[in-house]
């Protein structure tokens, strides 16, 4: 997709915030997302995901607890990230705790292809 126009860029920043949290481990990445993930704002998430899903990273956690809307572009991006992580030997984990995110993943059937946890702590438990 081409770069969004300046007005679109301002719209994206109003709608979504995506931050990478340092958990003190070089090979573990936690990406926190808050806001609404639709066709426009998912472009931002895709950028972060594609840079995170590469060696030397071994575990990538995407925290969706603060996401209020999850559209089909985001569902599709999460699904293809899970596939690409799998083929690169990277563990891809999602954190989702409420209906706004769980319902879309369940009703479309993609939750069976994803690993979902209730909190970041749970997702990181047992990561050696």
């Amino acid at each position: 997709m081409t770069e969004p126009e300046p007005t679109a860029r301002a719209g994206i920043q109003r709608m979504v915030a995506i931050t990478r949290t340092d958990v003190g481990r070089k090979d573990v990445v936690v990406i926190g997302v808050s806001g609404e993930l639709d066709l426009l704002t998912t472009q931002e998430l895709e950028k972060q995901l594609s840079s995170a899903l590469a060696p030397p990273n071994r575990v990538v956690v995407v925290d969706l607890s603060e996401v209020r809307f999850l559209g089909s572009a985001a569902l599709s991006a999460l699904l293809s990230s899970a596939e690409s992580a799998g083929s690169n030997g990277i563990e891809f984990k999602l954190v989702a705790a409420d209906r706004a995110t769980l319902r879309p993943m369940e009703v479309t059937g993609i939750s069976s292809n994803l690993t979902i946890f209730g909190s970041v702590d749970e997702a990181l438990a047992g990561v050696g």
Binding site: T7, A8, G11, M15, E36, D38, L39, L40, F69, L70, G71, S72, A73, L75, S76, L79, R99, A100, R103, P104, V107, T108, G109
Partner: protein, 161 residues
């Protein structure tokens, strides 16, 4: 003779659709327009949150449950995304919510240069058909007057017990 045939020359949006009707929107014929909600906005992706919030409000007002509200929000968002990404630059996206006894009908249209409706084999279309009770997309009109339509129906879930 009423208004038959006048539509084609009256300069309204209807004139561009290449269909001849009795001067009324065929979809509205059997439904009272009193409770309809119409939203018209620039066909740009930045407008998606606005349409989503209208969809959520209407579903809440119609006493849909939490999951059905979420389903309608996602379906309306997907529909508008489909239309906006195929819209003629600078055009208007027109959306209409019709409230019936046990269902919400959402119908949207946009001027589009594309001669055929989008593929139904995409992930997005699968999401749309999973989340709704009925969905269809079609093209009407010729050349510069071509319009892309999308209509979906979400029924109120039957409460058990």
């Amino acid at each position: 003779m009423g208004s038959r045939g006048t539509v084609a020359g009256n300069g309204s949006a209807m004139a561009n659709r290449g269909i001849v009707v009795d001067g009324e929107d065929p979809a509205a014929a059997s439904i009272g327009a009193r409770d309809d909600v119409e939203v018209r906005l620039d066909a740009r992706l930045e407008q998606l949150p606005l349409v989503r919030s209208v969809a959520v409000n209407i579903a809440m007002r119609a006493d849909f449950d939490v999951d059905s509200i979420s389903d309608l929000e996602l379906a309306v968002d997907e529909s508008c995304s489909v239309l906006i990404t195929r819209a003629r630059p600078g055009s208007t996206l027109a959306c209409r919510f019709t409230l019936a006894d046990d269902e919400i009908v959402f119908r949207a249209e946009v001027a589009s240069p594309e001669p055929t409706p989008p593929s139904t084999s995409t992930f997005g279309w699968r999401v749309l058909s999973t989340l709704t009770d009925r969905v269809r997309c079609w093209v009407d009109g010729q050349d510069a007057h071509r319009v892309l339509y999308l209509e979906l129906v979400k029924r109120r879930p039957v409460l058990s017990g």
